[in-house]
Amino acid sequence: MPRFLHTADWQMGRSYSRFDSEDGAALVEARFQAIEKLAQLANEHQCDAVLVAGDVFDAQTVSDRTLRRVFNATQGFAGPWVMLPGNHDAALAESVWTRAVRLGAVPDNVHLALEPVVINLQPQGLAILCAPLTQRHTYGDLTEAFSGYDSTQGLVRIGLAHGSVQGLLSDDIDATNPIAPERAEASRLDYLALGDWHGTKQINPRTWYSGTPEPERFRNNEAGNALIVTVTEPGAVPEVTQIATGRYQWHQWRETLAVESDLDQLLQRLQALPEPSVVDLRLEGSITLAGEERLLSALSVAEARFRSIRCERSGLQLEPTDDDIAALKADGYVGEVIDALRQPQQGDHSQTARDALAILAGLLKDQGQEASQ
C-alpha cells in the first residue's frame, strides 16, 4: 500500500523585498524549516517517498549555502525523495541541479528527475513518471509523453509534473508549460502530482496541486500545506490528506474606514490574529486625529506581536474633527496654519498637507504634554 508525500514550489533562495531585513530573514528561515517539517511529516505518516513537483529552487543561481542547506534539510527523511525541475529551476545544460551534483550536495536518497524518464522505486511500489522542464518555458504538454511510458507491472503509476492545467486555473497563471486536465486518465496514471500553483488545489480525484508548504505571498489561497497520498494498489482511487505545514499566515486586508466603528472593528480583527502572522494593511477612507492616534498605537503593538505588519495609509485621509483641533490648543497663527492644512488640497499636495498636519499635531501634543508637566 504505497503512500507518499506530495509537495511542490519550495522556491528556495527567494528573499522578501517587501519586508524589513530582519523579518525577511525569518521568513526565509521558515522555508527551510518547512522542508524539515515535510521530512518529519513523511516519517510520521510512514510515507514511502516524498515527491517534489518542481520549483524546489527559486532561481538557477542561488548561493552554494542555500543549495547545500536545502539538501541538508531533507535529512530527516531517509526514504527516497524525487525532485522535479520546474520553470524556476529547469534542467538546463547548466542548472542549479548540475551545480548541486557538482558540489556533491545531493544525498543518495534524493533522485533528481532531470530527464523525462520513469523512476522505478521498486521497493516502495512506485513508478514515478517524470516530466521535468528542460527549458525555461515550454508551450507543449510535457506530460503527453506519459502515455508512452510503460511502467513495471504492479507498481503504482505516479505522474510528476510542473505547469498549469489548461482551462482550470485563473488567467494570471502563465500560459506556458500547459498540462492537459485529463492527463491522469489519458496516461493511465494512478495519481498526478502537480506543482506551480502555490495553493493546494484538487483538479480531479487523481490530480492535485499540493501548493507550497510555506506561504510566501499574500495572493495565494490555501497555501502552506502538504498532501499525504495513499494508493492502495494500481488503479485504486488515491486517498489524499491535506496537512498544514505553514508556519506563518499571510493576511492582506484592504479596508475602508468611514465611521469610528470601522476602526474599532479593524483593531479587533487585528487583535484576533495569531502571532505568527504576516500582515499587510491598506487603509482608505478618512480618520480623525484621535482615531489615528489609536491606529498608530495599535500598529505599534501589532509590530511587536506579529512577524511583520505593514500598513499603507496613503489613501487614508486625516480628517481631524473640531474636537481634535480644540484639543491641540493651537492659537494664533499656528491655528491659522492648521486651518490652511485642513483645506481640501489637490493631488500630491493633499498628501503633503496631511503629513504636515500630522507632524504639527504631534508637535503641539508634545508641547501640550511638556506644558502640563
Binding site: G13, R14, S15, Y16, S17, R18, F19, D20, S21, G24, D58, A59, Q60, T61, V62, S63, D64, R65, T66, L92, A93, E94, S95, V96, R99, R102, R136, A330, D331, G332, Y333, V334, G335, E336, V337, A340, L341, D348, Q351, T352, A353, R354, D355, A356, A358, I359, L360, L363, L364, Q367, A371
Partner: protein, 884 residues
C-alpha cells in the same frame, strides 16, 4: 500706572529715610547735582521691581561700610483705579509686601504679581540683567543708554507682543515660535538651507541609485549567464550529435574514393604523354626521310637549271667582249685630244707672260722719266728755298719794333709841330751877304727858325742878341722833344736803321723773302713730298727694276707667231674639257675590264656546277636510295596513323574523367574533414570553457544576490519615500508657519507705526521710520536719505530711541498696560533746537503717561512747564525734619 510716592532707607547714600512725594501724574522733573542720589533713586525703583527680595546679589544697594543695613524701598502707585503699595527690603531683612486695594500679597506672590503687571521676568539666580527687564527695560532709560533700543525691544518682545495681541484682537500663538523652531530643526535634519537633501535622506537617494546600478549589473550578468546556459545546451546537443554521427568519416571515405579515381586518370595521362612523345619522334623521322627523297628527286631538275645558267653566263661574256675595241678607240681619241689641248694651253701661257713683261718695262721707263724730271725740279726748288732763306735771314726785322718806331716818330713830329707853334719864331731876311750868327750858326739869306731855347743872335758887329723864348710850356716841350728824339734815336739804332722808311723797307723785304721761301718749299714738296733723297733712291729702284724686266724679256724665247694661238681662257676651258673626257674614257675602260673578269668567272663556276651535277646524275647508288626511302616513309606513315587513333581515344577518356574537378573534390573533402573535426574540437573547447565559466558564475548565487539587492532597493526606496514625504510635509509646514507668523507681525506693526509717526512728525517732519518684523524701528527715510537707525548720529539715535519708547508706551497704554517712563539724564547730546522739539514731545507724552525725568542740568529743562524737584533740598528738608 501713576507713581505717587517713593521712600528709600538704608540704601546707598540714603542711610536715613528719604521720601519723594507728591509725584505728578504727568511730567516730573527731578534734579540734583552729581552724587546727590539721583541715580540711586532710579536704581531703587528698578531694584524694587526687578530684584528678588531674597537675592544675595544686591550688595550695591547697601550703604558703604554698613553691613547691617537692610535697604528698603517703598513705592505707592495707582493702577486701574486701585492703590498699589509695595514695600521691599533686601539683605539683612528680606521682605516683600504688596497691597492692591484691599488685597495683600507677600514674598514671591507679591513679586509675581508685579512681574505680571509690568511685564518682566526675574532672574533664576543672581542680579537682574537687561534680558529680564521686559517692558520696563524699554520704558526706563538708564543714563547713557537712550540710543540702544534694539536689545531692549528684543527683551521686551514677548511682553510687547502679548500686549499688542490684545490690542489688535489677534492671538499670537502661545507656543508658535517654539513650533517653528521644532519644525525647522526637524526639517534641517533632512534638508539643507537651500532645500537639498542631506544626511540619511541624501544617503538613501545615493544608496538607491547604487542599488539600481548593482541590480542593473546583476541583471546583465544573469542575462549573460542565461545566454551561456542556452549556448551550453545547444553546444552539448551539437557536440553529441556530431560525436554520434561522425560526419567527417563519411567525408574521409569519399576522399579516398576520389583519390583512387584520380590516380587512375593520372596513369592514363602518363601513358598519353609517352605516346605523344613516340608520335613526335615518328613524325620527325618522317620529315627527315621525306627531305632525303626530295633531295634525290631534285638532282635532274637542278642539272637543267645549271645548264641554262652556264649558257647565259657565256652569252653575257661574249657580249661584253664585243664592246672592247670601241672602248679602246675611244680612249685613244681622248688621249690625243688631251695632248693637243695641253700644247695649246702652254703656248697661251707663254704669250701671256711675255705680254705682261713688256708692259712692265714700259711702265718702269715711264716712271723713271717722271722721277728724273722731278729730281731736276727738286734741285731747282731747293735752290730757291735756299735763296729765300738767305733773304729772310738778311732782312730779318721785328715788325713790332718798326711799329713802335713809327709811333715814336709820329709823336716826335707832333711835338715838333707843337713846339713850332709856341716857339719864338725868328725870321730873317738878310741882306744878302749879311749874316748873323745864331747860336754859333751862321744865318744867311732868308729863313726862319723857331727858337725854343735861349739863343744868342750875334749880329756881327752889333753884338749879340739874347733871345729867350717866352711861354711856360716851352721848357717842357723842349724837354719832351729832346726825350722823344732820344727815344727815336735809340729805337732806330736798335733796329739798325736810320729812318723809318728804311725800317719799313726792310720789313717789306723780309715779308717778301718769307713768302718766297714758303712758296719754294711748297713747290719742292710737290715734286719731293718726303725728301729729295728719297726721290733719288726711288729713282734708283725703278732703274734697277727696269733693268731686271728688260733682262727677263730678252731671255724669253720669242714665240712662233705663225700658228694661231687661242686666248688663254679658251685654252684653259678646252684643256679642262679634254681632261674630263679622257678621265671618263679611262673609267669606262677599267670598268669594262672588271666586268669581263666577273663574267668569265661566273661562266667558269657555272660550268663547274653543271659538270658536278652531270656527274652525280649518272650515279647508280642514287636510284637504290630513292627506292629505299619510299619504303621507309610508307612504314612510318602507317605507324603514325595507329598512334593518333590511340591518342585520341585516350584523350577522350581523360577528358571525360575531369581530373581538374577530381583535384578540387579531393581538396574539398580534405577541407570538409578538417572543418568538421575542427568545429567539433572547437565545440569541445567552448563546452569546457562555458562549463568552467558557468561553474564560477553559478557559485556566486547571482539571482539570490539580485533578490537581496532588490529587497534592499525596495526598502531603501520605501525609506526614501517616507523621508521624502516627511521632508515635503516639513517644508510645507515651515513655509506656512513662517508665512502666517509674518502676516501676524505685519498686523502688529501697524499701531506701533501710527504712534511712531505721531512723534516723528514733530522731530523730523517729512521723515518716516519703518517698524520691522521684530517691532523695532528699522529703515529711516528723510528726503533722499535712506538708512538704518543705527547709522544715524549719536544725538539723533538718542532722540529716535526716545520717541520710539514713547511710541511703545502709547501702544502699551492702548492695550491697558501700565506705563511709567523714567528718563535718567537723557538727551544730553541734543542741540538746543532738537531739545526744544523733544520738550514738546515729552510734554505731549506726559499728557498720557507719567514721566520721571532725572537730570543734573535743571536749567536745560526750565521751560518744561513743571516745577522741578530738587533732591538736595529734599534731602536737607528730610534731614531737618528728622532733626526736628
Amino acid at each position: 500706572m501713576k507713581l505717587q510716592r517713593m521712600r528709600v532707607e538704608q540704601l546707598r547714600q540714603f542711610r536715613k529715610p528719604f521720601v519723594l512725594d507728591n509725584l505728578q501724574p504727568g511730567l516730573n522733573l527731578i534734579h540734583g547735582p552729581n552724587e546727590s542720589g539721583k541715580s540711586t533713586l532710579v536704581r531703587a525703583i528698578r531694584a524694587a521691581f526687578f530684584e528678588r527680595y531674597r537675592s544675595t546679589a544686591v550688595d550695591d544697594l547697601r550703604p558703604w561700610g554698613d553691613s547691617a543695613a537692610a535697604p528698603t524701598i517703598e513705592l505707592s502707585f495707582e493702577h486701574q483705579d486701585k492703590p498699589w503699595r509695595l514695600t521691599k527690603s533686601f539683605l539683612q531683612r528680606k521682605r516683600c509686601d504688596l497691597t492692591i486695594g484691599t488685597d495683600s500679597y507677600s514674598e514671591d506672590d507679591a513679586e509675581e504679581k508685579l512681574a505680571e503687571l509690568m511685564g518682566y521676568q526675574y532672574p533664576k539666580r543672581g542680579v537682574s540683567k537687561a534680558e529680564h527687564w521686559g517692558i520696563p527695560g524699554l520704558l526706563w532709560v538708564e543714563q547713557g543708554t537712550g540710543q540702544d533700543l534694539e536689545q531692549s525691544v528684543e527683551h521686551a518682545g514677548d511682553h510687547l507682543k502679548s500686549a499688542l495681541n490684545s490690542l489688535v484682537g489677534e492671538v499670537a500663538s502661545s507656543g508658535g515660535d517654539g513650533v517653528i523652531e521644532a519644525v525647522r530643526a526637524q526639517r534641517d535634519i533632512l534638508l539643507t538651507g537651500t532645500g537639498k537633501p542631506r544626511g540619511d535622506y541624501l544617503q538613501l537617494d545615493k544608496d538607491r541609485i547604487q542599488h539600481e546600478q548593482d541590480i542593473a549589473e546583476l541583471n546583465d550578468r544573469i542575462t549573460k549567464y542565461q545566454e551561456q546556459v542556452d549556448r551550453l545546451g545547444k553546444l552539448s546537443q551539437d557536440f553529441e550529435r556530431a560525436e554520434a554521427e561522425r560526419p567527417w568519416e563519411d567525408a574521409q571515405r569519399q576522399l579516398e574514393q576520389t583519390r583512387e579515381h584520380y590516380q587512375q586518370v593520372a596513369q592514363l595521362e602518363q601513358q598519353q604523354s609517352q605516346e605523344k612523345a613516340t608520335l613526335a619522334q615518328l613524325q620527325q623521322n618522317h620529315r627527315l626521310l621525306q627531305q632525303n627523297r626530295d633531295h634525290l628527286e631534285n638532282l635532274s631538275n637542278q642539272l637543267v637549271a645549271r645548264k641554262a645558267e652556264l649558257d647565259k653566263a657565256e652569252q653575257a661574256l661574249s657580249l661584253a667582249e664585243q664592246q672592247t675595241p670601241a672602248l679602246i678607240k675611244g680612249l685613244g681619241d681622248a688621249k690625243a685630244a688631251y695632248e693637243s689641248a695641253e700644247k695649246h694651253l702652254k703656248l697661251a701661257r707663254l704669250l701671256e707672260t711675255r705680254g705682261r713683261l713688256e708692259q712692265d718695262v714700259q711702265r718702269l721707263e715711264q716712271r723713271k722719266q717722271t722721277l728724273t724730271q722731278n729730281l731736276t725740279k727738286a734741285r731747282e726748288y731747293q735752290q730757291q728755298v735756299d735763296h729765300a732763306r738767305t733773304q729772310v735771314r738778311e732782312n730779318r726785322i721785328d715788325a713790332d719794333q718798326v711799329k713802335q718806331l713809327k709811333k715814336t716818330e709820329h709823336q716826335l713830329a707832333e711835338e715838333t709841330i707843337r713846339s713850332r707853334t709856341i716857339a719864338t719864331r725868328l725870321s730873317w731876311q738878310l741882306e744878302p751877304g749879311a749874316s748873323l750868327t745864331l747860336n754859333q750858326q751862321l744865318l744867311q739869306g732868308q729863313g726862319e727858325q723857331q727858337l725854343l731855347e735861349e739863343s744868342s743872335l750875334t749880329v756881327p758887329g752889333v753884338g749879340t742878341l739874347a733871345i729867350t723864348p717866352g711861354g711856360d710850356e716851352l721848357a717842357s716841350t723842349r724837354r719832351r722833344l729832346t726825350g722823344l728824339q732820344q727815344t727815336f734815336d735809340e729805337q732806330s739804332k736798335a733796329l739798325g736803321v736810320d729812318s723809318v722808311e728804311q725800317a719799313e723797307n726792310r720789313l717789306a723785304a723780309f715779308d717778301s723773302a718769307h713768302r718766297a721761301l714758303t712758296h719754294a718749299e711748297e713747290l719742292l714738296k710737290t715734286v719731293a713730298p718726303d725728301s729729295t733723297d728719297q726721290l733719288v733712291s726711288e729713282h734708283k729702284e725703278v732703274e734697277s727694276e727696269l733693268q731686271t724686266a728688260t733682262h727677263q724679256l730678252q731671255a724669253m724665247a720669242r714665240p712662233d707667231q705663225t700658228s694661231p694661238v687661242p686666248a688663254m681662257a679658251e685654252a684653259e676651258a678646252a684643256f679642262t674639257s679634254a681632261s674630263q673626257v679622257l678621265d671618263k674614257a679611262e673609267v669606262s675602260e677599267r670598268r669594262h675590264q672588271a666586268e669581263l673578269l666577273t663574267l668569265k668567272q661566273a661562266r667558269d663556276s657555272a660550268r663547274a656546277e653543271w659538270q658536278r651535277l652531270a656527274d652525280e646524275e649518272q650515279n647508280p647508288e642514287r636510284q637504290q636510295q630513292l627506292k629505299q626511302l619510299s619504303a621507309d616513309l610508307a612504314d612510318i606513315e602507317r605507324q603514325t596513323a595507329q598512334l593518333q587513333t590511340s591518342l585520341e581515344q585516350r584523350e577522350r577518356d581523360i577528358r571525360d574523367a575531369r581530373p581538374d574537378l577530381l583535384r578540387q573534390d579531393i581538396e574539398r573533402y580534405q577541407n570538409t574533414i578538417n572543418n568538421l573535426r575542427q568545429s567539433q574540437e572547437a565545440r569541445g573547447r567552448e563546452l569546457r570553457d562555458i562549463k568552467v565559466r558557468l561553474e564560477a558564475w553559478g557559485a556566486e548565487g547571482l539571482e539570490e544576490q539580485l533578490n537581496e539587492q532588490q529587497a534592499e532597493l525596495e526598502q531603501c526606496s520605501r525609506r526614501y519615500q517616507e523621508l521624502h514625504r516627511r521632508a515635503q510635509a516639513l517644508g510645507l509646514l515651515l513655509t506656512l508657519l513662517t508665512e502666517k507668523r509674518q502676516a501676524l507681525t505685519r498686523r502688529l506693526q501697524a499701531p506701533l507705526q501710527k504712534h511712531l509717526n505721531h512723534y516723528l512728525s514733530v522731530l523730523f517732519p517729512q521723515a518716516t521710520l519703518e517698524v520691522d518684523e521684530h517691532l523695532r524701528p528699522g529703515t529711516f527715510i528723510r528726503g533722499t536719505e535712506l538708512g538704518q537707525m543705527a547709522e544715524l548720529s549719536f544725538g539723533a539715535r538718542e532722540q529716535m530711541g526716545l520717541i520710539s519708547r514713547l511710541a511703545y508706551a502709547d501702544l502699551l497704554l492702548e492695550a491697558g498696560r501700565p506705563t511709567l517712563v523714567i528718563l535718567d539724564d537723557t538727551l544730553v547730546h541734543s542741540d538746543q533746537e532738537r531739545l526744544e522739539d523733544m520738550k514738546r514731545i515729552l510734554f505731549d507724552a506726559a499728557s498720557r503717561h507719567q514721566i520721571l525725568l532725572f537730570t543734573c542740568h535743571p536749567e536745560k529743562w526750565q521751560d518744561l512747564g513743571v516745577p522741578p524737584v530738587d533732591i538736595q533740598a529734599l534731602k536737607e528738608g528730610a534731614a531737618g525734619a528728622a532733626r526736628t
